[in-house]
Symmetry: C2
Subunit: 468 residues, 2 copies
């Protein structure tokens, strides 16, 4: 292994091969502290060509590689195992914006650009890159691509997958696949980019991408609406979409318990409505036309829905500050829940039409099995994606609560899959759900996935033990 | 082989195994008469389960299969070779709409549904399925999926790929992959559906799909604008998109020669503007809000562009009849060109920003090599996709003209690829471009495609000799 370290140092320079325990530490654990591995070393290549040489050096010696971006993942996909014989390839130094084409509405960016850098490059050319996540200051676009990141604007713009036109990938044997095409239409064979997007680094290392830009929104309106049921929220979604079409940029649901936690734990947050309700919808419209009458449009559709008895009360933000205040209620839920204590989280999706069924079934099953659990449900209802989290009962011990995780997961996931849903809507499989997924995917699908892995990484060196 | 025929008859019934020459003939040739093959037989299964049994019967005997939908393809992808030992599996009898979910905005349809049937099922639930093609009355959704069909609304809604959420596929060994999920977010492993979409039946047989629906447009406005260059058209596209955002449903370019052919050959068509120009843009806006002031929006942006000198003249349709008349100028180009005589066609794409470069270079190269060729350029400039067609010089003999096809193709394709483009934007590779693509794709990419083919169809029985 000393010989491999020598080879790696010759490729990237001594200072970019980290071997000391303290130097390696930030790259060996995820930010939530759920996964702590140990790597042979951490290599920080500075260019695609250096990635090629690093991969070749590892592949020739049969050494496994763990590609890593900003290390903000939630499922342990970018963290090494504890064996001490994997090389972490951190892409942070590949951080150039290679090209901007405002007429083609594309950016060509390297994997190590932070999402915030990518967003800023778009804004500098009066365009929007719509992917937006809580971790955007530190997560990197290569990680967003490898995990097919979602976020609050998927409803309108799609997941990272749908925002991608082309990729550059270093394959398991160190060859470069140059698929950096900026084309909206290209029917010349199998669509390889879609294999690498969302593969969590198990099929190759994404080193650069061509991503889509959109016109900057110039008008924006946000409403907060209260209703008595998830059925009403889903029905409201249909009405808003029919009335507003693609102006609808976000439609988030917030359960009463989630709002309560935010009001309790986050300073400066207040309930925008007078009376409590079972659930709330945060609705955002945006439009590139600066004079679009979006507030009036929201007013019209919400008034009609109040008359129809579907919405009990609603408020439309009258200023940018009020827009920020309404969004803060949604964006602080995770933080408020963290302050409340530990929780068991689920990142699930079902068809939008089954959201009420899911909540009804899951709530009932959990209340029966664990009467004191507190259900904190919220999320991207416009995508059928809920963060269905369970807070520790106030009286319970942490250890007792955590011990129930597997049972709770099983109960929730069985209901999700029974409704045609997914047990990982946004976050991926990584290490966290690698075993769990084998319960739900057919053997046909698992076999297909394994044959693709075998075809692209026959020696199993790319991020082994993740996803599959 | 008699024994295979007996087995197939036992599966689908005697009347659905066609062996007579006259019975087979419509399935053995493409509609343009460019490809004429000979099949062992044509089988018409009536259900996914029958497809499974047919595939197993063929696979067990090592017999190659050619999946076929409405047989409207342009590259020979659904037509058997001339060997007489392939089985055509025609999916027309799998023509049920299995489910409609207006709240989830999805349809579950079988492969043999015509596109028109799918569109009508959406409309029956007050929704839009936006894929729209000249052949929509006879092409089938399974073929649209297998060829990743495009059309005039890709700019706004994407290709068939982007309209697909889930698939059911019968694999090369007769197993069913049930990926019929109606989810907007699902990050549980490799995205297999994107492998089968656009694979032209070489990796398995798509038997059903979950596809996306959209709100019905209730307002629509169409303009026809004249300008002096492709540069001006591309700049106009940027301006219209910035002003109108997602309301922009189509932005088509029509070269002067293309308009001339339509005016000459298509009865009832007339030039909507007073003076001829180098090229024209057909611009369509639509909006689900019935009171959207789309004509005013077009008026504003076009007036500003006329003042800026980019647009020389423009007309905005004042009625549905005028909208139809403007679209007729675009939609009749192929027919007019057919009436004019034979032509050499190209279905190419480049980044939108390179459209003017492409036209300048290709026009110049062709005028030098073939001074009398008539260049008929038009297409989906909003997607960077041009149909760059060449009509026979009036004085030339057909045979002499056709003999130049390979030289002309090479010249055009080299320029396309030099600009980062694709030699098959919409139509696929099939038999037509299977050789040609090996000139332009890297050996890395060809090897990746072959390893995926090998992984999913190890015996090479699914539509061999197409794509790869």
């Amino acid at each position: 292994m000393t010989e491999l370290l020598t080879a790696l140092r010759a490729i990237v320079g001594d200072s970019h091969v980290l071997t000391g325990e303290a130097d390696r530490a930030p790259y060996e654990a995820d930010w939530r502290g759920r996964y702590k591995g140990r790597a042979l070393c951490v290599v920080r290549p500075g260019s695609t060509e250096e990635v090629v040489q690093v991969v070749r050096a590892c592949a020739e010696r049969g050494v496994a590689m763990v590609p890593q971006g900003g290390n903000t993942g939630l499922v342990g996909g970018g963290v090494p195992h504890t064996t001490g014989n994997e090389v972490v390839i951190n892409l942070s130094r590949l951080n150039r914006v290679r090209a901007v084409d405002p007429v083609n509405n594309t950016l060509t960016v390297e994997a190590g650009c932070t999402l915030a850098t990518v967003q800023a490059a778009a804004v500098a050319h009066d365009r929007l890159f719509p992917l937006s996540l809580a971790s955007e200051g530190s997560c990197q676009i290569g990680g967003n691509l490898s995990s097919n990141a979602g976020g609050v604007h998927v409803l309108r713009y799609g997941n990272t997958r749908e925002l991608t036109l082309g990729l550059e990938v270093v394959l398991a044997d160190g060859q470069i696949w140059d698929g950096l095409r900026g084309l909206r239409k290209d029917n010349t064979g199998y669509d390889l980019k879609h294999l690498f997007v969302g593969a969590e680094g198990t099929l190759g290392i994404i080193t650069a991408a061509v991503i889509k830009l959109f016109p900057q929104p110039r008008a924006r309106a946000v409403a907060w609406a209260a209703m008595e049921s998830a059925e009403a929220a889903v029905a409201l979604l249909s009405e808003v979409r029919a009335a507003c079409g693609e102006r609808l940029t976000a439609f988030e649901i917030v359960g009463h318990a989630a709002l309560e936690l935010v009001l309790q734990h986050i300073p400066g947050c207040s309930d925008p409505l007078r009376a409590p309700a079972a659930c709330y919808a945060l609705i955002e419209l945006s439009d590139p036309a600066a004079d679009a009458a979006l507030q009036e449009m929201l007013q019209t559709v919400l008034s009609a829905q109040m008359e129809a008895g579907r919405v009990s009360d609603a408020v439309i933000a009258a200023s940018g500050a009020q827009i920020a205040a309404l969004w803060a209620l949604r964006e602080n839920i995770s933080e408020a829940q963290r302050k409340e204590g530990i929780s068991i989280k689920h990142d699930v999706s079902v068809p939008v039409s089954r959201i009420p069924d899911f909540l009804r079934r899951a709530d009932a099953a959990l209340r029966e099995a664990f009467p004191d659990l507190r259900i904190v449900a919220f999320g991207h209802v416009g995508d059928g994606n809920l963060h269905y989290n369970l807070s520790k009962p106030a009286a319970a011990e942490n250890a007792d609560f955590v011990a129930q995780t597997a049972v709770v997961n099983r109960l929730v996931h069985d209901i999700v899959v029974g409704l045609g849903g997914s047990i990982s809507a946004e976050h991926g499989l990584g290490q966290l759900k690698r075993e769990e997924i084998t319960r739900y995917k057919s053997s046909v699908e698992m076999t297909l996935m394994r044959s693709i892995k075998q075809a692209l990484d026959p020696h199993g060196l790319m991020n082994p033990g993740k996803v599959l």
